[in-house]
Amino acid sequence: MTDYFEVHSRDGAARIGELRLSEPLWTPALVDDVLADAGSLWPEEREVPDGDESALTVLPHRAFPGGTPGEVSEAFAVEYPDVEYPSAAVVAPDTAADATAANADAYVLSNAQELAGHARAFVTAVVRTREAIPADTALHLPGVATPANVATLAYAGVDLVDTDLAVVKGTQGRYLAADGEYFLEDLTDLPCACPACQQSVETFDREACETHNVNALRAALGTVRERIRSGRLRDYIEGQARHEQWLTGVFRRLDQQYGYLEQRTPVLRRAEMAATSDDTLRRVEIQRFAERVTGRYRCRFDNPLVLVPCSARKPYSESQSHGQFHDAIQFRAHTVSMTSPIGVVPQELELTYPAQHYDAAVTGHWSASEIEFVADVLEAYLRRNGYPRIVAHVPDEGYREICETVEERLDLDFEYTVRDHPTTGDSLSNLASTLSTELKYGKRERQHNTLRAIADYQFGDGAGDALFEELRVESRYPKLRAHDADGEQLAALVPEYGLLSLTLAGARRWVDSDAPTKRVEIDAFVPHGSVLAPGVVDADDSIRVGDEVVIEGPSAFAVGRAEMSGPEMAESTRGIASRVRHVEET
């Protein structure tokens, strides 16, 4: 049982947590003031302290610093007692799994000095430790936090840090900032406005530098918490971490730990996503969208394909350029937007996270990796979806190169309709005349296909047909509602993130269908509003934050939206596992 730590929200591996002391501490945070070290067992035997709820007690420990031979850490490992007050166990990555029996609320990693500055070792150790300890426990990385690295530490899954290194650096005349470290004697300005820096650089001494460093670390942690709350830590990291090479190395190597990040990354957000670097291409959200579009989505239109460039305005259909494309196409073709960093966006998925949420820096110039990525996605898309004709209404820069690459790879013939620029009169009339002989599809077909496409994307290949066998659509795009033949509502499209929310009838359809159901098994109670983790008996591993889930137990059948991943639900003893939208007693 984790009694004193609860995760309230998640942004990838980073979390907003609450260390539930007599005065709660919201994490990621400095733990200095609330940490009570019961001491090391290396020099002397120690009693398990009495402890209380005012502090996080570090249980008597034997720390294994970097370089400790495996047989030594194994032989000297401490069996921690299970205590009834907030407690932390000191572990090394290799001993963490064995230490979980004591149900500590937090774990202190004893080889942090070995990890800081070394991206590969850091990522390996943090991932290994995080996976060994329960999700609803805090991870403390002592003695290494700086204003520059703390965002990346949190991004990797660290919850607690301290001021020790910041103070020590201050005593050495090293002035710390979010963009790195300055030697005090080199500074002409004090690039900060904290109270310690309210003086001239001439009078600013090392004591002031210690205070400033702590202030800067506090401020950096405030930024981290706000970024996590708004679901935008990754956007920040991609920029800020670049100030130190090893931090850039950390987030890039974490991208290669796809399983670790994917499990922790929500399937939807309302927040904007900044697409400002090549690293954005490797974000889980981007990779996941491309995977689903090329592996789950299926085009249900019989019309030709028109490839168009994306627009800055989202959703695309509300942009001026896409309005012009639409006027030319007139429902005679299926429109798919090409875009970096998303890849390809079929018109039915233009609302679906992150298609309407990303914002790229548009220069007209495409990097080689962007071209490669979008070409790969388009190729995979066209392997899965056949069209009678493919019209490429794209400008020269990047787009044309991608189209020609894919055309050649798949031995297809694209018809190119742009002269000069896609929105010139010539280009648009060329597009219109190219399609003039094609038949139009109707509003009903468009709406049905949209709902089914989103169901495919959200629930799996073929789910659109399995869930919506016979379908009646009500209301207007984008607020579409899916009803069955009898008029019972099954689902609604949520315009903010382009995914479906199910009704109880929809959930029952899902359970009865061949589409893989994401199921949360609960104890015998009827949940209202939410299901808490202790009530969860088991949960599908595939559940991600934001997923629709069916909640079932001896007393209730419900549908809701997951607040935790499946593995986190199963191993947590605190926190909200899922919101409940509709419930009925059974």
């Binding site: 070290d37 090391s40 067992l41 290396w42 020099p43 002397e44 035997e45 120690r46 398990v48 570090v58 249980l59 008597p60 420990h61 034997r62 720390a63 294994f64 610093p65 970097g66 370089g67 400790t68 031979p69 047989e71 030594v72 194994e74 032989a75 000297f76 490992a77 401490v78 069996e79 921690y80 007692p81 299970d82 205590v83 009834e84 000191v90 202190v108 990693l109 004893s110 080889n111 942090a112 000095q113 070995e114 002592p142 003695g143 290494v144 301290d162 020790d164 290194l165 103070v167 020590v168 005593t171 050495q172 005349g173 090392r206 004591e207 210690e210």
Partner: protein, 358 residues
């Protein structure tokens, strides 16, 4: 509330692990040594109960410490400086002694009043130094005033010491006690004897008319800076209370090749002690009824005890000054901006966050 003891360390298990790890680490060394060459010889000056003496200091190459062959101490690389394969013959050992005498003759005007003989293990272990050799060496140096021989306490007995005292030499047995805390000696240093054994050896030496010099190790692995300081202060106090133990030589740990300490050091898990810590211990134990000296080896380097790089030589000089004068006031003469860093480290560093500063 369940409240089991956190102490699950099983007697022997930790030592087996240390030994296994150390054997693997030592196996990496590939150098061998000439059995006719001493490991090292130098001339220096020492504070003794009889005043300050010029010393001829010899490290004999004896084939190595038996304990080190089993694995041995976590910080000790001297086994790597021993001959391969085992014992060194009497003739070879005497050749080494002769080399040392030649060195002295070339570098000093007069023979030193004191001779200190260390080995890579125990001078009084007869499997290392045969009886014949011990007696020949005693005879060789019978004209000096004082002799110091190094030994683990197990090998200390009256008859062996009598070889020296009977020849009129004021004799000290130097014992690598490392710390008065049995737990630290066992778990951090991986040395097998207890403080009681040291007390027994001191009593035996005293009965034979000899004295004991305790060698302490400042900052073994797995201790934070503040724990290391506290352990030394406590240890010096306990040594002072042992009858016959008239001198404590506190050696700040340095990073020797092919040791566990070196592995920790390379993985940012160990930093040798600050010279400020050495000064702090000397200063605060100056009033103890025992001579306390320290000779920081490799001072100022990353692998040796060091401060910030600017003040290392000055602090080292103060320490050497203290060795001869035993006056705490010598440390009032030195200061540096890095004292504040040291203070922060002492206050903040934990075994789970060390080293906080390099």
């Amino acid at each position: 509330m369940s409240k089991p003891s956190p102490e699950v360390y099983e007697q022997g298990r930790g030592m087996d692990a240390h030994n296994q790890a150390m054997r693997e680490i030592r196996a990496r060394k590939d150098r061998t040594y000439d059995p006719r060459e001493p490991t090292r010889v130098w001339l220096d000056e020492d504070n003794t109960p009889d005043g300050v003496y010029d010393s001829l200091t010899i490290i004999l190459n004896t084939g190595g410490c038996r304990w080190a062959r089993a694995g041995g101490c976590t910080m000790c690389g001297y086994v790597a400086e021993s001959v391969e394969g085992g014992t060194v013959a009497h003739e070879d050992l005497m050749t080494q002694v002769q080399t040392c005498l030649d060195h002295e003759r070339e570098n000093a005007e007069d023979p030193a009043g004191q001779v200190k003989i260390y080995t890579s293990g125990s001078f009084l272990d007869e499997r290392e130094i045969p009886v014949e050799t011990r007696q020949s060496i005693a005879e060789t140096f019978a004209d000096r005033d004082r002799i110091v021989v190094e030994s683990l306490p197990d090998f200390v007995d009256r008859e062996k010491i009598a070889d020296f005292t009977d020849r009129g030499l004021a004799t000290d047995v130097a014992v690598g006690l490392e710390t008065a805390t049995d737990r630290v000696r066992r778990d951090c240093v991986n040395k097998y004897f207890g403080f009681a054994e040291f007390e027994r050896a001191a009593a035996d030496a005293r009965e034979a008319g000899a004295g004991v010099k305790a060698y302490l190790l400042m900052k073994p692995p797995f201790l934070s800076e503040s724990e290391a300081i506290a352990d030394m202060k406590r240890s010096i106090g306990r040594c002072a209370d042992v009858a016959g133990c008239h001198t404590v030589s506190m050696n700040p740990c340095n990073v020797q090749r092919h040791t566990m300490v070196e592995d920790l050091f390379h993985a940012d898990g160990y930093r040798p002690p600050w010279l400020w810590s050495v000064a702090d211990v000397l200063e605060s134990t100056a009033d103890e009824d025992v001579i306390v000296v320290s000779d920081p080896v490799g001072h100022g380097s990353d692998r040796g005890p060091h401060n910030c790089g600017d003040c290392d030589d000055r602090v080292q000089r103060a320490i050497k000054d203290f060795d001869l004068r035993q006056e705490a006031a010598v440390f009032e003469q030195v200061s540096c901006a890095c004292e504040r860093t040291w203070e922060a480290v002492v206050e903040r560093e934990r075994t789970y966050s060390m080293p906080l500063a390099r």
